[in-house]
């Protein structure tokens, strides 16, 4: 029986002469990783190369670097970071903290799935304002055959926002100013019209989606990059809460709407701070 293989357009290895399980050379999209990229390419350039298959231009490097900084730490109030901290505070394994951040940060509300959906909108609507206004007027519909729960708002906008927040605006202005692609510049110029059509302010996910389109990413690549780029903040806040300990972490209160009380044998306490 012939030996099965793993196909790759990304990675090529040559074995050490005395060990078939150790690589003597590794090439990524044709570039010698340890013989040349190491020491010459920056982390961001290498990240771009891995996803897009070619070396980035200076503008692309600056755009991905700016996006990486904007996404790296949404702060401890963010749901994904909150999830990671729940792992940290209970002294769970480090990987479980990041898995928790990935699971929550994957979501269609504020997470990587929202970026994916917004990138699909960019693919379909481009820089056509009429198409955006038409699309944003339609509420997202639940698909009962999709494992993803329905998104309650237009992708890329803040469902609870009052106006576009300062960090989102600062990020948009900075990234659009890099002049890499059309999406960010157009988004910057038409933000008010889009927000009026959506009835909601632009969110960081919307800026990220435009940036990733300008980097030439597919929605699936954009989703993956968002998952990756948001992990640093989750990691450090999980570690931080490990140090603070569970006594310094909120446990919150709960109110049951259907407490059976003592009828089934327990003591009746309808609201309890636990």
């Amino acid at each position: 029986m012939s030996e099965e293989v793993i196909h790759s357009r990304i990675w090529q290895e040559e074995a050490e002469p005395d060990n078939a399980f150790a690589a003597a050379s590794c090439h990524c999209h044709g570039y010698d990783v340890y013989g040349e990229l190491l020491g010459q390419a920056s982390w961001i350039e290498y990240l771009f190369l891995l996803f897009r298959g070619d070396a980035p231009t200076n503008q692309q490097t600056k755009l991905l670097e700016g996006l990486a900084i904007a996404l790296a730490n949404p702060g401890p109030r963010d749901a994904a970071v909150h999830a990671a901290m729940c792992g940290g505070v209970g002294l769970s394994t480090s990987a479980s903290c990041l898995m928790a951040a990935l699971a929550v940060g994957a979501g269609a509300s504020g997470g990587a799935r929202e970026v994916y959906l917004a990138m699909e909108d960019w693919q379909a609507r481009g820089t056509n304002l009429a198409l955006w206004q038409e699309g944003l007027a339609i509420k997202p519909v639940d698909d009962p055959a999709d494992v993803w729960p329905s998104l309650g708002h237009s992708a890329g906008f803040d469902p609870h926002g009052v106006r576009c927040t300062t960090p989102v605006l600062q990020t948009l202005v900075h990234l659009a100013g890099l002049g890499c692609g059309q999406s960010l510049i157009w988004l910057h110029d038409h933000r008010a019209s889009l927000e009026a059509a959506a009835g909601l302010p632009l969110a960081m996910s919307g800026v990220a989606a435009a940036a990733l389109c300008d980097l030439g990413c597919t929605p699936a690549q954009g989703e993956m990059l968002c998952l990756l780029l948001r992990l640093p903040g989750a990691a450090v806040h999980a570690l931080e809460q490990k140090d603070f300990g569970h006594k310094n972490f909120p446990f919150f209160s709960i109110k049951l709407e259907n407490d059976p009380g003592t009828a089934q044998g327990g003591k009746n306490r309808t609201e309890e701070k636990i």
Binding site: V5, S8, A15, E36, A55, M99, A103, P144, F252, I274
Partner: protein, 276 residues
């Protein structure tokens, strides 16, 4: 009320009907005292109760148990199980390996994605047939639109060894007369008679049985989540008990490169030198 005012109402407190525990006193599970009124449930009954607050008959529970046991395969070649096994081989923890394998099971060509689509298809089509639609036409239309029907055909092999034992149990429990089950077999007949030659697989059978006990597609999605679980710990444990790194080791020759040739990195600009 929208925006920050709405969020402000929820700061620091959760209003819920899911449940809560009262330290030192009791625990409430979906409106029931867990230790007083639900203590006769086995684990799967409790799990299902948590999804839709429903209790099932003894024959129904036998079939719902079998739905999990009949598809828990401790075969580390299977992609989800392989994740658990690789975790063991790499000396990660059991929880990490099994949680990752569990998450991976929410796939589109097998597992939870297929389960959900199969359930949605059968429930939707049954409703349309009840309203007078032609089943053959609905099947043709589904195939045209989606290039396949979830629960019919199977990656890797055509036959499904789980169908016969499950149907034997279903008949034994007197649950073989449900409308969705009947519909599932009618769809298979159409697909076998036509040019498609697709057999029903376990996903359609399980989805039909759960639709017949009243589960919506989303309830079925959650009910089917533990279906592969029992097969995962043996894969992890087998790998962790062996020497490290022995699970499916990959020599360099097993990488088949199909990308661009070698090139030089010069100031962020590339030039193709030769074909690798």
């Amino acid at each position: 009320m929208n925006g920050p005012e709405r969020l402000e109402q929820h700061v620091g407190r959760l209003t819920t009907s899911a449940g809560a525990f009262f330290p030192g006193e009791r625990a409430v599970f979906c409106g029931q005292d867990l230790h007083a009124s639900l203590n006769d449930l086995d684990w799967l009954e409790l799990y299902l109760f948590g999804i839709n607050g429903r209790r099932y008959t003894e024959p129904q529970m036998k079939v719902l148990h079998a739905m999990c046991t009949f598809t828990s395969y401790p075969d580390a070649r299977l992609w989800n199980n392989r994740v658990a096994a690789l975790a063991g081989s790499a000396r990660s923890t059991g929880s990490l390996g099994i949680a990752a394998a569990f998450a991976v099971s929410e796939a589109q060509i097998y597992g939870r994605g297929v389960d959900l689509r199969a359930s949605e298809f059968l429930i939707r089509v049954r409703s349309e047939v009840d309203c007078g639609a032609d089943l053959k036409q609905l099947v043709r239309s589904e195939l045209k639109q989606k290039r396949g029907i979830a629960g019919y055909g199977r990656p890797i092999v055509a036959a499904d060894e789980r169908i016969a034992p499950m149907m034997a149990l279903v008949r034994e429990q007197g649950l073989d007369g449900g409308p969705h089950l009947k519909l599932a077999f009618e769809v298979e007949k159409i697909l076998l008679e036509g040019r498609w030659r697709m057999r029903m697989n376990y996903a359609a059978l399980a989805a039909a049985l759960c639709a017949d006990v009243g589960m919506s597609p989303r309830e079925y999605l959650f009910s089917s989540m533990p279906a592969f679980l029992a097969g995962m710990p043996p894969c992890y444990l087998d790998a962790v008990e062996k020497s490290e790194g022995l699970l499916f080791p990959l020599p360099c020759r097993m990488l088949s490169y199909q990308g661009v040739g070698h090139r030089r990195w010069r100031d962020g600009k590339s030039s193709v030198q030769d074909v690798g």
